[in-house]
């Protein structure tokens, strides 16, 4: 596993990965659709895949003493490490946001711990689409990214739309009021904190299982690909 990751970071990582990590600064915008920041992680991964393609990475990797399945694993590990590293940056930025800004977010879910659960869900959508579509042929990264971008923005639209609706209808719908008081806010009580941690946990679990399913699907698809 170590050598696979070493190969990915040494030969395949695009420098834009660092640049796009600055997207976490979006968390400091007073009112914003914060989940959009996750899209830029996908963009950085796409750039790395593109550069890998132009460097015949698929062929080089296939010739190493590993199976095709391990070649796919190599990419999934690379993607997961970048995404999990970004989750740490996002976590830090949520605290910075809380220290600097106090207004509620009118454009979606607040920059609160629950947002991390949302980020896991966005990454799940990205992993469920981008990588299997890429491994369908092993080189059409642009097409895979277009499909994943549509899926990610559709998800963000629905997810953030839900929290905008919750904010607007909190006064009349008790469920939305509960959401506003426990999820879409900085946790003011231990129960609210617990709900938000559960939300993060659920996001993490979904991320884990979706990525695992996506990996299995990609292995199956890549097995059929002629390099």
């Amino acid at each position: 596993m170590k050598k696979l990751l070493y190969k990915e970071f040494k030969l395949c990582m695009h420098p834009l990965v660092f640049f796009f990590s600055l997207s976490a600064l979006m968390f400091l915008i007073p009112s914003y659709v914060y989940l959009v920041a996750c899209f830029f992680t996908g963009n950085a991964i796409f750039n790395s895949m593109q550069i890998s393609n132009s460097n015949s990475d698929v062929l080089f990797t296939a010739l190493l003493p590993i199976s095709k399945r391990e070649a796919v694993k190599s990419k999934y590990l690379f993607v997961a490490v970048i995404q999990l590293a970004m989750m740490l940056v996002f976590t830090a930025m949520i605290f910075v946001h809380h220290a600097l800004l106090t207004d509620a977010n009118k454009a979606g879910l607040d920059a609160c711990p629950a947002l991390l659960g949302g980020c896991f869900l966005v990454y799940s959508v990205f992993n469920a689409t981008f990588l299997p579509f890429f491994y369908k042929n092993g080189y059409k990264a642009e097409r895979a990214f277009l499909i994943s971008t549509i899926a990610v923005f559709l998800f963000i639209f629905v997810f953030e739309g839900f929290f905008i609706a919750a904010g607007a209808a909190a006064g009349s719908v008790p469920f939305f009021a509960w959401i506003e008081n426990n999820i879409d806010c900085w946790p003011g009580s231990s129960s609210s904190l617990l709900y938000q941690l559960l939300f993060i946990g659920a996001g993490l679990l979904i991320y884990f299982f979706i990525t695992l399913l996506s990996y299995r699907r990609s292995c199956k698809l890549f097995d059929e690909v002629d390099i």
Partner: protein, 282 residues
């Protein structure tokens, strides 16, 4: 035990069929894989290494089923496909540093030795190397992990005659101790004359012949004669060319008696391939 055993390898494309490719390669041998462009040489090599999904057949490396033990078998194989065109902006030492981590028997001193032998500067980037130097770098990587089987697809194409000779010397010295083998495809047939023990000739996706180089050569003879003899002997010629003095062509050695009025000479590999391929077009 054979170092490489390919049995009934098959790959079907919509417009091409690689069919029933079978051959064995013993340790200590160099096998030249010949055939014209598109005959199926690269497809065979790729199917052997699971780079393309085969539709049938099996491959054994050092007695192990390749498709059941892919990683382990690949440890024993050095494979190059022409020049090294990966990671153009990376330095040679970076690529070697990554590659060596995957091989249990990576030999750093052998690698350094090949760098020196091929005059490669490991601080250079791939894109700074000429096509020939890229082939040499691919070779250095393929030769540095103590591979028992080298599979080389067109390794000599981008090399100048001196470098080609150097490479052939390296290949010969590698198989000398009788533990390693080389399978290499080329259309520079003169390279095979110098070093191949066996010839695998692939034609239209089928193995036309697989035998030791001497026997392969001895199966054919070159013939040249006057125009007046051509008409009666035409049917016994594999193929021929007419010229101002008469004709020249290729015959099966067993038919040599029929050509007593003509001049005959031993056939070289290149002539055999050219005439055999012409037979198809005839």
């Amino acid at each position: 035990m054979n170092l490489l055993s390919v049995k009934s390898l098959r790959k079907q494309y919509p417009s091409f069929l690689l069919d029933d490719i079978s051959f064995d390669l013993e340790p200590g041998c160099i096998m030249g894989f010949i055939g014209r462009n598109g005959a199926g040489k690269t497809t065979t090599m790729k199917a052997m290494l699971n780079l393309i999904k085969r539709d049938g057949g099996s491959v054994f490396v050092d007695g192990m089923d390749f498709f059941e033990n892919e990683s382990e078998c690949k440890q024993k194989i050095g494979f190059i496909m022409g020049e090294f065109n990966c990671y153009m902006r990376s330095k040679l030492k970076t690529i070697a540093d990554v590659t060596k981590r995957f091989y249990k028997e990576w030999d750093d001193s052998a690698y350094k030795g090949y760098l020196e032998k091929f005059s490669l500067d490991e601080n250079k980037k791939i894109r700074e190397l000429s096509a020939g130097m890229r082939v040499k770098f691919a070779l250095a990587l393929a030769l540095s992990h103590n591979a028992k089987l080298l599979i080389l697809d067109e390794p000599t194409s981008g090399l100048d005659p001196v470098s080609r000779n150097e490479l052939l010397d390296v290949l010969r010295s590698l198989v000398e101790d009788g533990t390693r083998s080389v399978l290499f495809s080329t259309h520079i047939i003169s390279d095979l004359e110098k070093c191949a023990d066996f010839i695998g000739y692939i034609k239209n996706g089928k193995l036309f012949d697989f035998t030791d180089t001497e026997s392969f050569r001895n199966k054919f003879m070159l013939v040249s004669g006057e125009q007046e003899h051509l008409e009666s002997l035409k049917t016994h010629l594999i193929s021929y060319k007419e010229n101002a003095f008469g004709f020249s062509g290729l015959i099966k050695a067993e038919d040599a008696g029929l050509f007593s009025d003509c001049r005959t000479a031993p056939a070289d590999l290149e002539s055999i391939m050219v005439y055999v391929e012409q037979e198809e077009e005839k």
